[in-house]
């Protein structure tokens, strides 16, 4: 059965969501944050763009797509209002985790780390299968 968040975790998660809306409050949806976002540039879908995340989070909608962000801060460099978008995404991810809404991949990675000290578990991919952007 899926683990449920405790009362304390729910409160912590809600506090984090409040912090997220406070950070993103000044967002005017101009979309300049999308300019150099590597995820948006590749996938070309507004819902995984920084503006898309901002709109969803301001409406208190926490989507799994938050984990698609690379936290590279390119959006922050392009935001004319200097909004700390990546900070808000990190906090929103934490809130999702507290609400026990982690992605399967994240849960598996945490379990692997706990059990083997390696995010890939006992069968890490070969060197040539690993790459960095």
């Amino acid at each position: 059965m899926k683990e449920k968040p405790t009362k304390q975790e729910k409160i912590q998660a809600n506090n984090l969501i409040e912090e997220v809306t406070e950070i993103l409050g000044p967002c005017v949806k101009c979309g300049m944050c999308k300019s150099n976002c590597p995820v948006f540039k590749t996938i070309r879908e507004e819902s995984i763009s920084p503006r898309g995340h901002s709109i969803s989070l301001l409406n208190k909608k926490l989507e799994e797509s938050l984990f698609d962000c690379t936290l590279c801060k390119s959006c922050e460099r392009n935001c004319p209002l200097g909004i700390k978008i990546c900070d808000s995404i990190t906090k929103a991810r934490e809130a999702l985790s507290l609400k026990k809404k982690n992605t399967k991949q994240n849960e598996e990675m945490l379990k692997n780390l706990e059990e083997t000290g390696n995010p890939f578990g006992n069968n890490p991919p070969k060197g040539e299968e690993l790459f960095c952007c």
Binding site: K29, R44, S47, I55, P80
Partner: protein, 367 residues
């Protein structure tokens, strides 16, 4: 699917989306249009009048139509799909020492399809005019899902129509050789000097941009609390070159969002004849309305707070009294529908009936 991001554009208006579809080819656009009852077409979502905000419709997002096609270096033309982002096109053309000269401040994210549909103008309007002037032909998917190529004579049914007459899917654009530009930031003491200098700059042979910042905007940008002009030249006339030039242009691109941060979320874009600008700018100053704009072509961007609707209506009356247009470049969308001249509206309705009799595209916009 999370639809919320598709229910907004940069206008702050919220709509309602039924579904979002991302065609990856022009063939897919044809079949989506043929089988969908109501469609809102979306480009970069940078519109400031709500043109891409859906009204309970299916959103057709053109972002994945991103192919840059045939480049003819001799004729200086390039074929592009509607979802190509302007700066991506400029980056591609740089290798061939060519450029597309129309430059709206959203150049890093706006799409070519959106620029044609709104006939985007931008800061270099004094030299290069609007986007439609640079389109050799466009390809449009009509309400039945048929594709057609429109040349100069038919293009006006689709350019500046904000997507209410068909889906622009491809275009052939005229290009120019890549220009080496410089710029100057000029503080001026009052409105008289501002307008006099603007006229002088407009007659300079290498001028490509004259932008105005009012006292409030200048202060917000960390400049002296005075009117300022930003003049761009296509030679070495400007004092700011290379990195300094880029910094100044980047600063200019951030003016709009910076005023939004101060609470001035609403932006208007009236256009006035040069000899009426003094009256208009004086009126704005008396009413303490911050503004900036493409003064060389008479387009001013006054900014308002969300509770200043009455002041906007008052300003529109002033614009009409001075013989100006209520929208010089942002389009009508949803926000400015009430200000459209009845005669203009009739013309648009006739074009709409002819091109989209089923009222499939962008319902609730312009008319």
């Amino acid at each position: 699917m999370n639809l919320l991001p598709y229910e907004y554009d940069a206008s702050q208006i919220k709509g309602k989306a039924k579904q979002v579809i991302f065609p990856q080819s022009i063939g897919q656009v044809k079949s989506i249009v043929a089988t969908s009852p109501k469609i809102t077409i979306r480009g970069g979502g940078t519109g400031l009048s709500g043109g891409a905000v859906p009204n309970g419709d299916i959103v057709l997002d053109t972002s994945k139509l991103k192919k840059i096609g045939k480049l003819d270096q001799q004729r200086k033309t390039v074929e592009v799909e509607a979802g190509v982002i302007l700066d991506d096109l400029e980056a591609f053309l740089e290798d061939y020492n060519l450029e597309f000269p129309v430059n709206p401040s959203s150049h890093t994210i706006c799409t070519i399809g959106g620029m044609i549909a709104t006939d985007a103008v931008g800061s270099r309007a004094i030299k290069y005019g609007a986007t439609s002037k640079w389109a050799r032909w466009i390809e449009v998917v009509d309400s039945k899902g048929n594709i057609g190529r429109k040349g100069a004579t038919e293009m006006s049914d689709y350019t500046n129509m904000e997507g209410i007459t068909g889906v622009i899917v491809k275009a052939c654009l005229n290009l120019i050789p890549k220009q080496k530009r410089t710029a100057s930031l000029i503080p001026v003491k009052d409105l008289d000097e501002l307008l006099e200098l603007t006229q002088k700059l407009k007659s300079h042979e290498s001028i490509s941009m004259v932008e105005m910042l009012d006292e409030f905007t200048s202060k917000g940008l960390g400049l002296e609390e005075k009117y300022h002009l930003i003049a761009e030249f296509e030679d070495n006339t400007g004092k700011m070159k290379d990195e300094k030039y880029t910094e100044l242009l980047n600063l200019r691109d951030k003016v709009g969002p910076l005023l939004s941060r101060e609470g001035y979320l609403m932006i208007e874009d009236p256009k006035l004849h040069h000899n009426k600008l003094k009256d208009f700018l004086t009126w704005l100053k008396i009413k303490k309305i911050p503004c900036f704009g493409h003064i060389s072509v008479g387009i001013i961007h006054p900014r308002f707070k969300p509770n200043e609707e009455k002041l906007i209506s008052e300003m529109m009356k002033v614009v009409k009294k001075l013989g100006g247009q209520v929208s010089g470049e942002h389009g009508i969308g949803i926000l400015k529908k009430k200000f459209v001249d009845p005669q203009d509206k009739n013309i648009i309705i006739n074009v709409k009936k002819r091109t989209d009799p089923e009222n499939k595209f962008n319902s609730g916009k312009i008319i």
